[in-house]
Symmetry: C2
Subunit: 234 residues, 2 copies
């Protein structure tokens, strides 16, 4: 009997926003895996730290900061190999994923490599998006409103096209794109009411009207923009 690979969302940052199931799976895990920077601490692991037992085997998946496509693929080939050795021995492996594993999560890399050979189960987590809305006390979407989730890394033309359609917006992966996104929203008349959120649910949490957002935004930051007529159907 081979083991099962669990893709487990550990939520946006506050350990209390892990699910009861994630907490239990991590406490009982013989093997865990998680993404980590080349040097230093893993964010996903830091969220789960109080649930990890001393005897649990840990597989950090270390990703250099600046890489093009191929090294990342090689790193995940190697990580999948390590994970599969444990699965073949009959041990389950719990892969920790910040936020939700299937909402812009790096768990996709392990999943694609292992889903056809092993049993995989997903445990959804609180996403950064709903955590940012909670932090900002700003409803994401209501009633018959659309919500467009847009990575800030998209080109101006694509962003403008989607931003001009009236639905509520959640712009993710803001980071260094902040000034550009702000300018696009301003041109479309949608800056008013937009809110910037960084490090939602963590001690360093920042919530500010977009006009007052800090110039140096972290990668894990988000801009929420209300729909043009959010309560139209209420």
């Amino acid at each position: 009997m081979t083991g099962t690979l669990y893709g487990v969302g550990v939520g946006p940052g506050d350990p209390d926003l892990m699910t009861v199931l994630a907490d239990r799976l991590i406490r009982n895990a013989r093997v865990i895996a998680y993404p980590a920077p080349e040097n230093g601490a893993s964010f996903a692991r830091s969220i789960a730290r109080n649930s990890i037992q001393p005897e649990t085997v840990e597989i950090p998946i270390r990703i250099p900061m600046q890489v093009d496509r191929f090294p990342v693929q090689e790193i995940y080939d190697e990580a999948s190999q390590k994970v599969s050795e444990h699965l073949l021995q009959g041990d389950d492996v719990v892969a920790l994923c910040q936020g939700d594993p299937f909402f812009y999560g790096s768990f996709m890399y392990l999943f694609e490599r292992l889903k056809d050979r092993f049993s995989v189960r997903l445990v959804p987590g609180v996403s950064s998006m709903t955590a940012c809305a909670a932090a900002a006390l700003r409803p994401l979407c209501a009633q018959s409103e659309s919500l467009f989730v847009l990575p800030a890394t998209l080109a101006d033309a694509e962003l403008s096209d989607r931003m001009s359609r009236g639905g509520a917006l959640a712009i993710v992966k803001v980071g260094r794109h902040l000034p550009r996104i702000r300018e696009l929203l301003r041109r479309l008349g949608r800056e008013s009411g937009a809110v910037f959120v960084a490090h939602a649910s963590l001690p360093g949490q920042t919530v500010a009207p977009l006009a007052d957002a800090p110039e140096a935004a972290p990668y894990f930051s988000m801009i929420l923009v209300p729909g043009i007529d959010p309560y139209a159907a209420s």
Copy 2:
């Protein structure tokens, strides 16, 4: 000192998908409130049932099945009045919300009425959307992909416009709109790869290719459609 109103997401259905914080707040609550049908059991309460203590005061907010706008507004006026009486006595009130309170949640009705008079805190929950993706073992969005969340209640023209833009789609509130949505996706060449999910994380969970979805879809069902080139940037 007045109390605090907590809007607490209890997740998609499996009690184990409540957050550690939601579980703790509900266990310690003196007063809880939750939406319920006119007759019968509340879904939000049923998710939290094992955390609710016998001495906790319960405020069910009973919504008739078929109502136009005004009775719902009146029902929430009355519920807000009841909730505010407890807050004014200095008790916190924990409002239970299935999924996440700010992702198409009915908590909005209490929030709008009470946010300017009382301290309000939001506890995000696992949304039905990420739970459906987990149930279907289908990533929602990756890398530089957009995700469009579209209520099935929108008109054909609006849905077609958004569906034709290439991003991944999560179509919510499917219910009786299933045949219409399927036809729209078919016409746009996006039916292939689409998956239908109902009752994610619950014992009655259904996952099926859209072509094989049951004709009578429940209101709480969803269609997930992969982006046209989901791993373009991976």
